[in-house]
């Protein structure tokens, strides 16, 4: 059983069991709070009975013209609550908001090229590899830019894969 609600500052003090996991980055305060101040609809947390934090998703909406899109900055689930499709639920929520409220064309996310389990999961959720970003992670590892088209992109133009990889300085957004 899960309650999904907007993330709030106090959750920053409660998400330790999720964030102690070494694959979950703990960002600085202004990062979290900027997301909360600008895109509160894109930052959600899932709670279990007994009020334990199960996981959360943070993201934003940005871009211009046909590049107006939702972006998943982080999605994470505590080990105790894995294998229950919680990540899927959180992703669907963000896609829904991008689609229905902000009328975006697509949702995208970045993932380490080596993170096969995550890539597989995103593919299952309908994401395709749009392009490869060379040495995106600390100048060492390549990142994959994955996208999923939303209803506004009727012809699914936004997800036609690029033929060549790009470098981080070619990226449109941070």
């Amino acid at each position: 059983m899960t309650t999904i609600r907007r993330f709030c500052c106090n959750d920053l003090l409660r998400f330790t069991s999720v964030n102690l996991d070494h694959l979950t980055e703990t960002f600085n305060m202004s990062f979290y709070m900027t997301y909360l101040a600008r895109w509160p609809d894109y930052f959600h947390v899932a709670e279990a009975p007994g009020n334990r934090i199960m996981g959360y998703i943070m993201g934003k909406v940005e871009g211009q013209g046909e590049c107006w899109h939702g972006h998943v900055t982080a999605v994470t689930v505590a080990p105790e609550y894995r294998r229950q499709q919680l990540a899927k639920k959180l992703m669907n929520l963000l896609e829904d908001i991008s689609d229905k409220i902000d009328k975006a064309y697509f949702v995208d996310l970045f993932v380490r090229a080596s993170n096969t389990p995550a890539i597989k999961m995103y593919e299952k959720l309908g994401y395709v590899i749009y392009r490869r970003v060379l040495r995106y992670y600390s100048g060492e590892e390549d990142g994959l830019d994955m996208r999923k088209a939303l209803s506004r992109d009727v012809e699914k133009k936004s997800i036609i894969p690029l033929k060549r990889p790009i470098t981080p300085d070619e990226l449109e957004y941070d």
Partner: protein, 1011 residues
């Protein structure tokens, strides 16, 4: 006025751009050069000056930056024709803020707004200044002015938020909300509302005044369409109806939400609460701690008549059955947990049926028994059963779990769940010793047997069965606790180290290990594991409790210093930037976040851990510099002689403290940093104590902070009090000692005594009694360090006041010197003798020894240094003939006291050297002998034996190369060596501290002998 196109602060943009570029690329020298050139062209431009100030500040020249800023400000004020644009002001604002002069920035904006009253941009800047200063009233006034000027919705809401802030975070009365309501109403009448967040604020203003009907009306009216997600609207509607007491309507709304989101637990609880007309969820009085929400949901049932209750429950059951039937998704836990909650409520009402609860639990187990969260999901429901029923349930589970699942990972999941349930209901801890050992063996076998399941997992993914080793560790610690047999303790560390050599990312193992190593006294090793957790940013607030308290009483000063520095920097940085982020929320019209951010900042500012760190950081500096009185005085100077901390100490009683630590991750044997159950007796403690300990902690921490923050001042006054001692003796007539010092010290001693629970005279009696052996040592044992500090400060006070009677009657020895010397000698030697020499034994007393040496002994040595310094010939003044100090009684006692400390420190050093120089092989053998007990089939070592056998017979093909290599890499000898090194590092660091003290005392000895 406002910057025109192509102009920046009145200067052509092309001239300014390169300077900004240089600043952005951190080429400050270059930027400064260019800015000087710019200033030569525009000597009267405040903007050019502001730029220069900004560069100077970035270069680390705050004083120069401030001077330049101030001249820019003067120019702005002086010259009416000068441009007054937001760019100039905001640049100045940035510098003033970084120089901690927010007030100056505000006054610049205030001046500018006074001069150009209709400039919106400047007014926004001014509003921002008030946000930074948390001046809610002025924020409100400025926002209203802007609103009147342009009539925009957002400025009205800025004003409304500022009003709400006055009510919730300031001292504004609730009637202000009426004003807010009036303002919005008027605006809605003429302009309506256009942002969903604006509607939310409107509703909240009404809700805060308990005007639920009005709020509902607005929500269901035209404005309601601003909320685009249907369930969001329904949630608000349900909440308002419930708060208005219209439970039937609320329940049907929540029912609607559940039909849309059948897995929404909170909504289900609301639904059930409304059916049962239970207002405990809704009353304003219930202020739950948002960081540690209660595990058990409170509910009120007694007011319902029997038949009403029954019909409510059958309605709920019918609805749940419908939900269960409707959800095709078989991984939704919601509808099944809902059934359990209904049974729980019946139980609480007195109509419970244990069999039904058990039945529902079994159903839940069949569906979700393999999930790692099963036990935490059902914890609250198990709680209503009696012990016997719990056992019955467990037996049922065991019987029914035998059916083999086709999926081995699920099978393993279920087996683990069974073990976790045994742990949860306390069965594990009631088992006799050999059965408990048997369980641990069974678990570790299960872990090893199932390792092949993780063969193809990514190395970073959690492996199947990882929890088993944590459970094994819990059992072994339990066995150690019961029997006192060190073997179990060593074995527990070996098991966890084994787990970490297979996958080095398991934070649960790391946390357990760090606590085991801390208890063992191998703190440097504990700290290594702590560092590997990569605790940063906000996690420092919620996770550092695992290590900080031990570090504070350790000799690892370099690490402690880093820990404190990083933590304080994080917190202070946040306090500095938080207001800017609040303004960001205003700008992006996310008004609800405005209040949340301000409240969150306050929560962190009141953090008990933050306050402790703020006091401990300077105390650490004092400790570090205590061997040189001049350096200690420098530290005290930088602390304004401890005045600030006195203020903190005075305020702490009325301050609310917050507790942001995540205690869930702590092992059962130390549920909070103040409690270590391994020290105490086995009886009387529940097996898994997780009760909310905040109340108790709060009182305790208040006392700690209050007492600790007196220290810097008392040390300062003690040094002062001693500083004229021998001089005074020389100058027969003119007493140089300041009576104020003596009276303040007396006042603080009274407070210190009070914090120890006694009046000053009673406290004096206690130290006199204990030092002379008339009272038992145990009289001061629980607060030993504080009592010894008290004795030291008492002596220092007595030097200048002479209020105390001389106890020995002959007048040779001021008694307080004797008290201090004998107490230090006595307790230090007692502690040294009590420390178990075995290398892997817990060293509970070592931190006490470290504190004795680095606190009371160190403070006393400062007093001595100050005394001796006063006897040294200063400047041109020569020793006067006539008076021979060398034979004065005072010189005599000082000499004796130095000698006494010298001997005490020497003894400690001797003990430390003996420990350190023990041959490693011997230590190694000792540690391993605890677990390698060949031929025995009980006692410690059973689990270890399985691991050793497993490692030696690893099947590479079955496990895969990666895991089998990892398994083979585990070396018990390496673990033992790490423990030895860990302990020796702590001892060596302590030895260094002692050596420095020893040297300082030696110098003192020489100096006093020349007096």
């Amino acid at each position: 006025m406002a910057s025109k196109f192509g102009l920046a602060g009145g200067i052509p943009e092309r001239r300014v751009r390169p300077i900004w570029d240089a600043i952005d690329s951190r080429q400050f020298k270059n930027a400064l050069k260019q800015s000087t050139t710019l200033l030569s062209k525009f000597p009267n431009s405040p903007y050019a000056l502001a730029l220069k100030a900004l560069i100077l500040e970035r270069m680390g020249k705050p004083d120069e930056a401030l001077t330049v800023c101030l001249s820019a400000k003067d120019l702005l004020y002086k010259n009416d024709s000068v441009l007054m644009d937001d760019l100039t002001l905001s640049t100045l604002q940035i510098v003033f803020q970084r120089l901690d002069h927010l007030d100056l920035a505000t006054s610049c904006y205030e001046y500018a707004c006074g001069k150009f009253p209709n400039n919106l941009e400047l007014m926004m800047g001014l509003f921002n200044c008030y946000v930074r200063e948390y001046s809610f009233v002025k924020q409100q006034q400025t926002a209203i002015k802007m609103y009147k000027l342009v009539g925009e919705e957002r400025f009205l809401l800025w004003a409304i938020c500022s009003i709400q802030l006055q009510v919730f975070c300031g001292n504004g009365g609730e009637k202000l909300l009426l004003l807010a309501e009036g303002l919005i109403k008027k605006h809605v009448a003429s302009h309506s509302l256009h942002e969903p967040e604006a509607l939310i604020v409107y509703i909240s203003v009404l809700e805060q005044q308990a005007k639920y009907g009005d709020a509902l009306e607005i929500l269901s009216g035209k404005l309601g369409s601003l909320l685009m997600i249907e369930v969001d609207k329904l949630r608000i509607q349900g909440r308002l109806l419930a708060r208005a007491g219209d439970y039937a309507a609320a329940a049907s709304i929540f029912q609607k939400i559940l039909e849309l989101c059948p897995d929404d637990w909170e909504c289900f609880l609301h639904y059930l609460g409304c059916l049962l007309e239970d207002d405990s969820n809704w009353s304003n009085g219930v202020l739950n701690d948002p960081i540690h929400p209660p595990k058990f949901i409170d509910c009120k049932l007694s007011h319902l008549a029997d038949e009403v209750f029954d019909s409510c429950m059958s309605n709920a059951v019918a609805f749940i059955q419908k939900l269960q039937a409707d959800t095709s998704n078989n991984i939704l836990r919601g509808p099944y947990l809902a059934k359990l909650e209904v049974e729980r409520r019946k139980h609480l009402y007195g109509k419970g049926d244990d069999d039904k609860i058990m039945e529902a639990l079994m159903q839940y187990f069949f569906r979700f028994g393999h999930l790692a969260c099963f036990t935490s999901d059902v914890e609250v429901f198990l709680e209503v059963l009696t012990h016997d029923k719990k056992t019955e349930f467990l037996e049922k589970l065991m019987k029914n779990s035998e059916s083999n699942s086709a999926v081995p990972t699920k099978e393993l999941g279920k087996s683990i769940t069974l073990l976790k349930v045994q742990e949860l209901i306390g069965k594990m801890y009631r088992l006799p010793k050999n059965e408990l050992e048997g369980s641990a063996v069974q678990m570790v076998e299960m872990y090893c047997k199932n390792l092949p399941l993780s063969k193809d997992l990514d190395p970073q993914e959690s492996m199947h069965g990882e929890e088993l080793l944590s459970m094994v560790c819990n059992i072994l610690v339990q066995l150690f606790w019961r029997t006192g047999d060190l073997g179990y303790f060593v074995e527990a560390t070996m098991v966890l180290e084994f787990g970490l050599s297979i996958r080095r990312f398991v934070w649960q193992y790391k946390i357990f290990l760090l606590h085991l190593y801390s208890h063992m006294g191998a703190l440097s090793l504990a700290y290594e594991w702590y560092k590997s957790l990569d605790v940063k940013n906000i996690l420092m607030e919620s996770v550092s409790h695992h290590i900080l308290p031990q570090m504070l009483v350790s000799p690892l000063w370099v690490d402690l210093n880093n820990l404190l520095k990083d933590y304080l920097k994080f917190m202070d940085d946040h306090f500095r930037e938080s207001a800017d982020l609040t303004f960001l929320a205003y700008r992006h019209r996310n008004y609800s976040k405005v209040i949340e951010f301000v409240q969150f900042k306050e929560r962190l500012q009141h953090s008990n851990q933050y306050l402790v760190a703020r006091v401990e950081a300077p105390i650490l500096q004092l400790k570090k510099n205590a061997d040189n009185v001049e350096e200690a005085e420098c530290v005290l100077d930088s602390l304004k002689c401890g005045i600030h901390f006195l203020e903190l100490s005075n305020e702490i009683g009325s301050k609310s403290l917050t507790f942001n630590e995540d205690l869930q991750s702590r092992p059962w044997w130390t549920p909070t940093s103040e409690k270590n159950y391994l020290l105490g007796p086995f009886e009387g403690i529940s097996y898994c104590p997780r009760e909310n300990l905040t109340k108790e902690r709060e009182a305790n921490l208040r006392r700690v902070i209050e007492r600790k923050s007196l220290l810097p001042r008392m040390v300062y006054l003690s040094i002062q009090s001693a500083s004229t001692l021998l001089k005074e003796n020389i100058e027969v007539n003119g007493s140089v000692s300041d009576p104020k010092i003596s009276s303040e010290l007396k006042f603080l001693l009274e407070r210190y005594a009070k914090l120890l629970g006694l009046s000053l005279s009673d406290a004096i009696e206690v130290v006199v009694g204990v030092s002379s052996g008339l009272k038992p040592s145990s009289a001061i044992a629980p607060d030993l360090i504080d009592w010894l500090n008290f004795a030291v400060f008492l002596n220092a006070w007595n030097l200048s006041s002479h209020e105390l009677a001389q106890p020995d009657g002959e007048g040779h020895r001021p008694g307080t010197w004797d008290i201090v010397d004998s107490l230090l000698e006595k307790y230090i030697s007692e502690v040294v003798r009590s420390i178990n020499p075995i290398i892997c034994a817990p060293w509970i007393d070592l931190p006490i020894l470290v504190q004795l040496v680095t606190e009371p002994l160190a403070w006393h040595s400062l007093v001595l240094q100050s005394c001796v310094r006063s006897s040294l010939p200063s400047g041109k003044k020569k020793k006067k003939g006539g008076l021979d100090l060398s034979n004065s009684p005072l010189t005599h006692v000082i000499r004796e006291s130095i000698q006494s400390l010298y001997g005490t420190v020497e003894d400690v050093m001797k003990w430390l050297r003996e420990q350190i120089k023990r041959p490693e092989d011997e230590n190694l053998e000792t540690i391993l002998s605890f677990v390698q007990k060949t031929g025995q089939n009980e006692g410690p070592g059973q689990v270890f034996k399985i691991l050793e056998t497993y490692v030696s017979s690893v099947n590479d093909a079955e496990l895969g190369e990666r895991i089998s290599e990892a398994v083979k890499s585990w070396s018990p000898a390496d673990v033992a060596r790490k423990i030895i090194t860990g302990k020796c590092t702590v001892l060596s660091e302590f030895l260094k501290i002692c050596e420095s003290k020893f040297k300082s005392l030696k110098t003192l000895k020489q100096q006093i002998s020349q007096v």
